[in-house]
Symmetry: C2
Subunit: 137 residues, 2 copies
């Protein structure tokens, strides 16, 4: 019942970048400021780059930059890229088909929470996460 470390890192990193404006941030500086393993974060940002969430700037003074509007980048997209959303959509007891018509024993107790979480992931944007000052990152 937790995000993968990859998702934790990706979200914290993007929130930090969003928070400090639209400039270019090197992986080194992000890694130092957020306490995230350098090489690991590098792979993560590379992946977010190839999926079009951020843009890479090569060479000296290079790094990564968020290009799309923050209101456009939703949690569900980030999580889907780095860990996939399958585990948020599947039956809690692992059955292939599980719905109102043919429920597992936990369905009535779980489906509400599952739907709520998915809805939250799909509706919450990077703009919302970044807008409040004073929060830890």
């Amino acid at each position: 019942m937790r995000l993968y470390k990859s998702s934790e890192y990706a979200i914290r990193c993007l929130v930090s970048m969003a928070h400090s404006g639209g400039g270019v941030h090197s992986v080194k500086s992000l890694s130092d400021n957020l306490g995230i393993p350098y090489k690991f974060l590098g792979r993560l940002m590379s992946r977010l780059g190839s999926e079009g969430v951020v843009e890479s700037v090569k060479g000296k003074a290079g790094g990564y930059r968020i290009v799309r509007p923050l209101e456009d980048i939703r949690l569900a997209e980030i999580v889907d890229i780095v860990e996939g959303l399958e585990s948020y959509e599947r039956c809690i007891l692992g059955f292939d088909r599980c719905d109102e018509k043919n429920p597992c024993p936990m369905h009535e107790f779980w489906s509400g929470h599952k739907d709520g979480i998915l809805e939250m992931l799909k509706s919450t944007t990077l703009a919302q996460l970044a807008e409040s000052e004073g929060k830890k990152i």
Copy 2:
């Protein structure tokens, strides 16, 4: 965002046992009926036995039996025994201290869901899970 296989198996197995009365069930029969790996389920039941959720009956015609009243066995207890509840209580972004006073960026979006899930686990009993006919197990 999912139960460990261990929790899936433990819940399905206990629901199945509760459903078919208070008799003794061998690991072999449970494994066959539910499609759960035999040796793996054996270790799981042994653990549930040492924690007092079920009772082992050795020798020929032996197996496991639920002893405590079904209204007394809650999901939270089962999950805590086989996989632990830590991941259901911690901050979604992994911060050590994260609360209303000192929130992480996701706190306001996540804490409600977290509390709801924990409350569900702590209040739902084996009796509730087992009572409905026609559900898959």
